[in-house]
């Protein structure tokens, strides 16, 4: 069952407290971020209904927001999500080649997840890193000035981290 821990519920309350009384719906977008982080990196219908119940709003009010914004995942994603920007300024600096390289290295198409559930590849529109292009977002971090070698390093680091965690 989907439920925040006591600590997270305190965080939820502090989010709601940022708004005047009766305006708790404003906490919806931050709460969906929190829920996505806590409940497996995506928003299931159960998760969205739960978030709605915390704010006292109808499920449809949550769905219409969750489907509008591009940062919410509406289906499961891999452990590491590569969101590569391909808008004009990144394109000028070779983002299409970087996307091609990631596709061939991981053996997946854009929008797919590797069979081991480790990596998902997405393309995204401008993330405000145009001067440091090409770039991608990974979780909350930006990886900028991408080259093929840098992509290799990032993939290897993700795999190493995974091995260490599974050994421990």
């Amino acid at each position: 069952m989907v439920k925040f821990s006591e600590d997270k519920l305190k965080e939820v309350q502090s989010m709601i407290d940022r708004y005047p009384e009766g305006k708790q719906k404003s906490a919806l977008i931050p709460l969906l971020h929190l829920a996505q982080e806590e409940f497996g990196g995506w928003l299931s219908a159960e998760t969205m209904d739960y978030v709605g119940s915390l704010l006292g709003i109808e499920p449809i009010e949550v769905y219409e927001v969750a489907t509008f914004y591009s940062m919410y995942n509406l289906k499961p994603v891999g452990k590491h999500v590569f969101e590569v920007c391909h808008t004009g300024p990144c394109m000028l600096k070779g983002s299409d080649d970087i996307i091609g390289y990631i596709k061939s290295t991981l053996g997946i198409k854009v929008g797919e997840t590797t069979a081991d559930g480790m990596f998902t590849l997405k393309t995204v529109e401008c993330l405000g890193a145009c001067g440091y292009a090409p770039m991608m977002q990974m979780g909350i971090d930006y990886r900028e000035h991408l080259t093929e070698a840098r992509v290799d390093e990032i993939i290897a680091a993700c795999r190493n981290k995974q091995q260490k965690t599974s050994k421990a």
Binding site: K25, S26, A27, L32, S70, C126
Partner: protein
């Protein structure tokens, strides 16, 4: 070296922290402003000639003066940190490296406008900056610059950071307000403007990050002194984020008297075109504003050098000019394909259209499809005319400026680079493997050697 008002201290070690920022003279504007009448602060901003730095360039003091002040109704200041215009990354730099400058500007502005609860709406992808801003807010609060009874003046103010979740449209102020209310980012029909009916139906001012940061030097030096920097109605300094095929991409603070040529070729700024290539074209103010070929970029149609300011960049209107916009300066070298580049922008606007207005929702999709056809060597000459027709039908026919923003790049690309679109149509095989270099132009684009 141009005078810096915003980024002067960006390389001071530890400037992100209150103690260092304070030691460097920070929060003097709050001390000064809180002894003034709120109306006098608005007057200083009016005198400064400051224009909105988010893209529209509307006079900030005038915008402030529209704020309704009904008895017993809260008023809100909202900082627009939803920086999403392709080519623009200046607010990110300012927030990441000088968070206290923004917080200081917000405190002064909140006092001037009577906002006791101020929000920073930041794009969701700038997730790591949320922590930097919250840290700065906490430090300011510990030191008595935020919270209850600031500096014993009786003024209370809290600042909260709200993260968006990925939507360009939330940079439009009424869409931003909707999003801050926990809804889809659908722009509202205006009037009423936010100054009358904004956040939770209360009077609201929404200002860009850089605009609010600029309030700090305005208060410190006085509006009249600030207005002496720059030229004409382009007063003060402007942050430009430069990217694309240049040697030194990055964020630069400019005095708006320098020429475009100096900005591109001087080592103080972009450092010239990368890899020894020639300049082909440039979008000087973020992806929405018209692209200009090198000759019209560097020199106006009247033959005068074009300067990096609001008036000069728009000299000639859309026929031969462009706009200052958000200051997102995108440079294209001779190897770049205008059709392909325009296609990426068309895809961006199709993706970001909120879907409320048919001309934008449907039109941006058609534009992307037709450009895809042309880029892949499957277009006809009539498609170029169709593109022109569609963009004309989007522009001015939507409730928010996203429609215009989607139409203008297409219009300008066809206006100045029609040769290149036709070359794609007439050379369906070549266009898949070759870029359309400068040589293909009947009337070559003149660029400096």
């Amino acid at each position: 070296m141009a005078k810096k008002l915003l980024l002067e201290k960006d390389h001071v070690e530890g400037i992100r922290h209150f103690d260092v920022y304070r030691r460097e003279g920070g929060y003097a504007a709050v001390e000064k402003a809180l002894k003034m009448e709120p109306a006098a602060i608005v007057e200083e901003v009016k005198k400064s000639g400051l224009r909105g730095r988010g893209g529209a360039g509307f006079p900030s003091g005038l915008k402030w003066s529209f704020l309704a002040k009904p008895e017993g109704v809260p008023r809100y200041l909202v900082c627009n940190a939803d920086e999403s215009e392709p080519g623009t990354f200046k607010d990110r730099y300012l927030m990441e490296f000088l968070p206290h400058l923004l917080i200081e500007g917000l405190i002064v502005s909140s006092f001037a406008l009577g906002s006791n609860r101020t929000y920073i709406y930041i794009r969701g992808e700038y997730a790591w900056i949320v922590g930097i801003l919250e840290q700065a807010i906490a430090e300011a609060k510990q030191n008595g610059f935020l919270g209850k009874n600031i500096l014993g003046t009786g003024f209370d103010c809290e600042i909260y950071v709200q993260r968006g979740a990925g939507a360009y449209i939330c940079g439009e102020e009424t869409a931003l307000i909707e999003s801050l209310e926990g809804k889809r980012g659908n722009p509202r029909i205006k009037p009423p403007f936010p100054a009358i009916k904004g956040l939770w139906d209360c009077p609201t001012v929404v200002n860009n990050v850089e605009t609010l940061a600029a309030v700090v030097p305005i208060i410190n030096m006085g509006g009249e002194e600030y207005a002496k920097i720059g030229v004409g109605r382009s007063t003060g300094t402007k942050l430009i984020s430069a990217c694309g095929n240049i040697n030194k991409p990055g964020v630069y603070e400019i005095d708006m008297t320098i020429s475009v040529e100096e900005f591109i070729y001087s080592d103080e700024y972009c450092g010239g075109i990368a890899n020894g290539k020639k300049l082909k074209a440039c979008i000087p103010g973020g992806s929405s504003v018209p692209i200009l070929p090198a000759n019209l970029l560097l020199t106006t149609a009247k033959g005068e050098p074009r300067l990096m300011n609001y008036e000069s960049l728009s000299d000639g209107g859309f026929a031969t000019g462009s706009m200052m916009g958000s200051g997102g300066f995108i440079v294209l070298d001779e190897d770049q394909c205008i059709v392909r580049h325009t296609l990426t922008l068309a895809r961006f606007y199709r993706h970001e259209s909120c879907g409320q207005c048919s001309p934008c929702r449907e039109g941006t999709g058609w534009v992307e499809k037709i450009l895809t056809k042309i880029e892949n060597g499957k277009g006809a000459i009539s498609d170029i005319d169709l593109l022109w027709d569609i963009q004309r039908k989007i522009e001015g026919n939507t409730i928010c400026p996203l429609g215009d923003a989607a139409a203008w790049p297409v219009a300008a690309a066809i206006r100045h680079f029609r040769d290149e679109f036709e070359w794609h149509v007439n050379n369906p095989e070549l266009c898949l493997t070759q870029n359309h270099g400068l040589a293909h132009y009947a009337d070559p684009i003149h660029v400096p050697a």
